[in-house]
Symmetry: C2
Subunit: 295 residues, 2 copies
């Protein structure tokens, strides 16, 4: 997905939000915004929003001297999600279709995002009720079929906290059949995206092989990825991609991807013909079909 | 009121909105945003938001070649408001306190704003119910006392459409006593702010002397005002200031002003300790006192 002009104001808002978390010095915050304002005209609209977001957050980190302003928020997010993990595991186990229930929870967990919405969803809002809420786009039957025929799964992680819900989904996938699952984290801190540290701290390494994308982009920019990541990407039978950043960076790919996300901005929501906040499980190709329907 | 860093993203959003109304050419819209992005770092935060908005919209007009993109929306706003004028006049006449009812309607009319909120409030939403809704900040008793002791009133207008509701308030003021009322419009088109053309087209000249501020700022920037405007400003017994732009540009003045507005952004709302959308009638000085209370 290319960047739209609407994204400019969003990048400014995100930069200010991150700068304010990193420092209380308004001069530094102002310098951040000025630098982002000076950078934006240098970048073409043809690149994806996560590529611009990556440059934006790097400016924040460079100018404020804090390369991980959301570290405490990420730790809290992981911890809070782990606290409700046993309860949600039980809810999934007692659901009619535990795999579908786990998909819905993993999507609900995507609400924990400090980027586009700048609102840190409280973890107590992610409850069993997510299991009862219908998906606004529901390619789950296709995903389920696809899993049955697959061996190698590449799971593209998104945010800290959210990865606990991903763990629940991965555990359910393993109930379906024996699978070889790799879970992708960011190479280094960006926004509140999960890194190796987060994956280890929620025990994801017990259920999947953790690998780095090789990049600190808040999405999967293939040109920035490591060879290891690319090998897994092109050899996976199915890719499960979490969140809007991964969606924005891979939505034009022609490969077997299922995108699981909450729509967080009007652009993505309207492209997919849904409302902001809606839960989406969409197969690659279907998103392009819907984009043609909702131009 | 100074400009805050939060305003940067808002200026970008406003510029895009206006550019899209002015042209469907995305290259021109992109050029507008790039120019605004390049301009923002040149401006100090010490100036008021309307001064930056003025520069922002001038860039839009210059680059798109349309110096009044909202002209049709302004005409429609005036026309629609005139259509409901007789009904609202009757509602005011039958109210317990017609002057208070007219103040509330004039504030409700301030919702017709294409700047900060970028949502054109439908005129049918401005109804008699506004008369029944309490003001979130209510200095009306002081205003009423003040009017009784006054002779010369300077009324600072804001938006097209809204000025029909201002007309109702001015007509009620004239019921209280004989007054010398001047109504201030912008010198030339800016956003959807009222100009002389709008004032004449809704018959405001029948109830007040129409004068230009001498500036096309979407607020009252005293250093840009004509001598005529300044003479009236400093000699008025009381000033009635409509809308957020006029508020932002005059909120630090120490002169007898009553601000009548809807709070349209989080910054102004939180400064005044109210919620977005709240109706405010506040005496100058009181706003500074509240700003100290809600820092």
């Amino acid at each position: 997905m290319r960047t739209y002009l609407d994204c400019y104001a969003c990048f400014m808002r995100q930069a200010l939000n991150a700068a304010r978390v990193a420092t209380s010095d308004e001069h530094l915050q102002h310098a951040v915004l000025n630098s982002v304002a000076e950078m934006l005209p240098q970048l073409p609209l043809s690149i994806t929003p996560p590529e611009i977001a990556q440059q934006t957050y790097k400016l924040v980190y460079k100018i404020t001297g804090d390369n991980d302003p959301f570290r405490e928020l990420k730790r809290t997010a992981n911890q809070r999600a782990l606290e409700i993990y046993p309860r949600l595991k039980a809810a999934v186990a007692s659901a009619n279709d535990p795999l579908l229930a786990a998909c819905k929870l993993a999507i609900a967990g995507n609400a924990i995002d400090l980027g586009p919405t700048a609102s840190n969803t409280s973890h107590h809002l992610i409850t069993e009720s997510a299991i009862l809420t219908p998906l606004a786009v529901n390619d789950y039957p296709t995903l389920k079929q696809c899993i049955k025929k697959s061996k190698r799964i590449l799971y593209l992680g998104d945010n800290a906290g959210e990865i606990v819900f991903d763990r629940i989904l991965i555990e359910e996938l393993r109930q379906v059949k024996e699978l070889d699952i790799s879970f992708v984290v960011r190479e280094s801190p960006i926004i509140n995206d999960a890194t190796l540290y987060d994956a280890l701290s929620v025990g994801l390494d017990r259920v999947a092989a953790i690998i780095s994308s090789g990049s600190d982009a808040p999405g999967i920019i293939l040109s920035q990825c490591s060879q290891e990541m690319l090998d897994l990407y092109y050899s996976a039978d199915v890719i499960i991609s979490k969140g809007q950043g991964n969606y924005e960076s891979l939505s034009d790919e022609s490969i077997n991807i299922f995108f699981l996300l909450k729509a967080k901005c009007l652009l993505v929501a309207s492209q997919l013909g849904v409302s902001i906040g809606d839960a989406i499980l969409i197969k690659n190709g279907e998103n392009q079909r819907r984009q043609a329907l909702f131009p």
